[in-house]
Structure formats: C-alpha cells, structure tokens
C-alpha cells in the first residue's frame, strides 16, 4: 500500500526537539482513527516513521507530535506549513475507551507518552468517553520539556491533573519528583479503576508496579508499547515482541495479556 499525500496546515514547536504537525485529512471513514492508533509518516526520499495520532478523533485534521532524533524525523522537522508528507494508516489497536465507562480512569503519561494519550483526553472533553471520573498523571524531565503546557491549565478545570518534573527550573512552582509518588496516593477504588499508561518502558514498569500494589487487576491496566517498525502491517517482522506484532496486536496491550512477555528482558 502506498502513502496518500497530505498537506501540512500548521506546524508548532512544542519543546526544542519536539514539534507538532497538523494536516487536513480526507473526508470519509478511511481516515477515521481510534485514540492510540498510529500512522506511518513519510518524508519524501527519507523514509517512514511510526507516529501515534495525538489529536481529536472527531476533528477534520490529523495531528502528530514528533520528536526529532533520527534521519526521518529530522526530515519531518524541516517541513513547514504548505509542505506535503505521505501518510499510511491508521494502524494498530487503540485504547479501549469503552472499558473506562463508569470507572475511575487513570491516564498516566511520561514524557512524549502524553502524545498518544491526548486523544483520550479529547474524547473525555467531547463527551465521548464516560468514565465516572478521570485523573491525569503527567511526568516529564523538566518543565521546558512538557508537552501541551498551554492546554494543561484548561484541562485541570475538567478533571484532576497531577504534573511533576524530575528537575525544576527557576519559575516552576509545581511538583518535583517521580510520577509514581502521586500515583501511590491517588484516590481510587481498586476494582472500579482502569489505567492507561504510556511513556518510556522503564517508567511504565514502575507505574504498573504501583498500580498492582494498589490492587488494580492486570486486566484493568493498558499500556502502549513501542518497537521498530518498517511495514506497519505485520509482514516485515521488525516489531515482534514474543508472539505479538506491536503494529497489529498493539501498540496498546492489556497488561494481563502480555504480563509474561513484559518481564522478559531483551525479548
């Protein structure tokens, strides 16, 4: 399958090495996506990279937040509004929004991990997601490296929001410390809670330990995994993780289903 060509409408810098591209999507169900899915973004001649969709599923545009560190993402970084890029997708299994209905939903994000979870927040704000309540926990390295800072204040008026950084800068008056600490005292009933976790694997590992320690069942914890991807359709073999293809069995997994594999190093 070949990429379709979309025009960048807007480009915004989030942090020094992270930027967000917004491009119009074609009308019709082919472009619908579920929160947690990803697209393969193609920079002309450079290649493709798997990036989670991080905008609203209801909007007319596709939004992707990208950190530049390799050949393809650096090529995407050079694009400006009016330029074109190729898009294949959406692919993968997204967050099980229906599982959160009537429950306390914990959305736990670390660093760039907030990008694949932002569509979940938008679903809540749009009334599509009906948890009994939602709490967002967001940990980042430093305040300057937090995503979507301008939106966070607005969000805190709609649901409980805890942000924390590892290192503070001069004007940060918020929490400093690891994200697992506020998780330990989050108000919840363990059998009425569902958690969506996304961030560096080590952060997810420690957060999941806290959640299990608080009595959540493995079946109520969902996480988003990242692996090397080339084809995104389960044929190239790169994203294999035990028996799972992260591109089609994930990237969102129920912890109960992959608990065994999660604990094996260098799998």
């Amino acid at each position: 399958m070949i990429p379709r060509c979309l025009r960048i409408e807007e480009r915004r810098e989030e942090t020094p090495d992270t930027f967000t591209l917004k491009f119009s999507r074609e009308p019709g169900p082919a472009a619908d996506f579920a929160p947690g899915q990803f697209n393969m973004l193609y920079a002309f001649g450079a290649g493709e990279v798997a990036i989670s969709v991080s905008g609203s599923a209801a909007a007319d545009s596709l939004v992707h937040t990208i950190r530049s560190h390799g050949l393809v993402t650096r090529a995407l970084k050079r694009l400006r509004a009016g330029d074109y890029l190729g898009v294949r997708g959406p692919f993968g299994r997204g967050w099980p929004l229906q599982k959160a209905r009537g429950k306390t939903l914990l959305v736990i994000a670390g660093g760039l991990g907030l990008a694949p979870l932002r569509p979940v927040v938008y679903s809540l704000l749009e009334g599509k997601l009906r948890p009994a309540s939602m709490q967002l926990f967001y940990g980042a390295r430093r305040p300057q490296e937090m995503l979507y800072r301008s939106e966070l204040d607005g969000w805190s008026r709609s649901f409980d929001l805890v942000t924390t950084v590892d290192h503070a800068a001069g004007d940060w008056s918020g929490r400093v410390g690891v994200i697992t600490e506020p998780l330990k005292s989050a108000p919840l009933q363990s059998d009425q809670t569902v958690a969506f976790v996304c961030g560096p694997e080590i952060m997810m590992r420690f957060c999941i330990q806290v959640l299990l320690g608080r009595g959540l069942a493995p079946a109520d914890i969902y996480l988003s995994m990242e692996r090397n991807m080339k084809c995104a359709v389960g044929l190239c073999g790169h994203c294999q993780w035990g028996p799972n293809f992260v591109c089609k069995d994930g990237p969102v997994f129920c912890y109960a289903d992959i608990q065994h594999w999660f604990g094996i190093r260098a799998l």
């Binding site: 020094p16 090495d17 430093r142 080590i202 330990q209 320690g213 190093r265 260098a266």
Partner: protein, 160 residues
C-alpha cells in the same frame, strides 16, 4: 571459624547493638559467597533477604530496554543492601549484581520480621539503624540527581 554472631559484631551496621540481640539476629543469618556476575537480587523477585556486605562490590542496577543494565549505585564492604523485605509486597525494586566475588552475611527477612514483631524494642533498634542508612542514601541520591559535575543544565534557547 567465626560464628554468624561474631561476623555481625564486626559489621558497622550492628555496632553498639547488645550481645543478646546480636545472637538472636544471628539465628536468621547465613554466611554467603556470590561469584562475579551473580545476582543478589532481581527486580520484582521476592525480597526475602537483607545483606551485610563483608567484602566485594555490588552494583545496584535497573534494566533499560535500549541500553541494557544501568548502574545506579555501587555498594562496598561495610554497606548493607536491601530493605524491600521490610514492607509488603516484599519484592525487590532493583537488581543487585556482584561485581567482585562478594562475601556477605545474608539475613532471612521473614525471620527478622517475626523477631521484631515479637520484640518491639529490638525492632526499634533495627529501624533506627535502617532509617539512618536510608536517610544517607536518599541524601546521596538527591545530590547524584543534581548532576553537579556536568556543564550548566541546558537552557530552553540552546541550539540542539
């Protein structure tokens, strides 16, 4: 041939603890040797033991998928390792790996917990010592976090 109690007496952690208490604790102990590369603890494994390092170095590590094991701190003779056995769910948070051949006194955590519950006075003596070590480790970890030897922390407008 020294007894466990004898070895405990030599270790700085138990300095000034009375002889009867040391004998009691010694009953929970065994003399152990870990060859190079072997793990004293593994993340998420049951944390059943408390170690007093007599000789050799131990690396406290965590595993990063893209980088492999990352050493957070090294411990040496005279140090103690492990307090996950104090509080449920009694699981190790980190890995601990022998960098040299490590000689350690290994105390059984469940045994120690039971003795402390039965004799709160002994429990308090042990807790005081743990609290001091934990305070020192926390202070050290905070200073480590400052990254004091690096250049000034990068600012927002630094070129990438």
């Amino acid at each position: 041939m020294k007894t466990i109690a004898g070895l405990l007496r030599e270790h700085p952690f138990f300095r000034d603890l009375n002889a009867a208490d040391i004998e009691l604790i010694g009953g929970c102990g065994a003399n152990t040797v870990y060859p190079v590369g072997e793990h004293l603890a593994r993340e998420n494994a049951p944390a059943d033991h408390f170690f007093l390092i007599r000789s050799g170095r131990v690396a406290v590590e965590t595993y990063l998928p893209e980088r492999g094991p990352l050493c957070l701190q090294t411990l040496h003779d005279g140090d103690i390792f492990g307090w996950s056995w104090l509080f449920p769910p009694y699981l190790w948070t980190f890995d601990a790996r022998a960098l040299d051949e490590v000689h350690a006194i290994r105390l059984d955590g469940k045994c120690l917990r039971e003795k402390c519950e039965r004799d709160p006075r002994l429990g308090f003596q042990l807790m005081k010592r743990f609290a001091r070590i934990m305070t020192e480790r926390l202070q050290a970890a905070r200073i480590q976090l400052l990254d004091i030897y690096g250049q000034r922390p990068p600012l927002l407008d630094d070129a990438p």
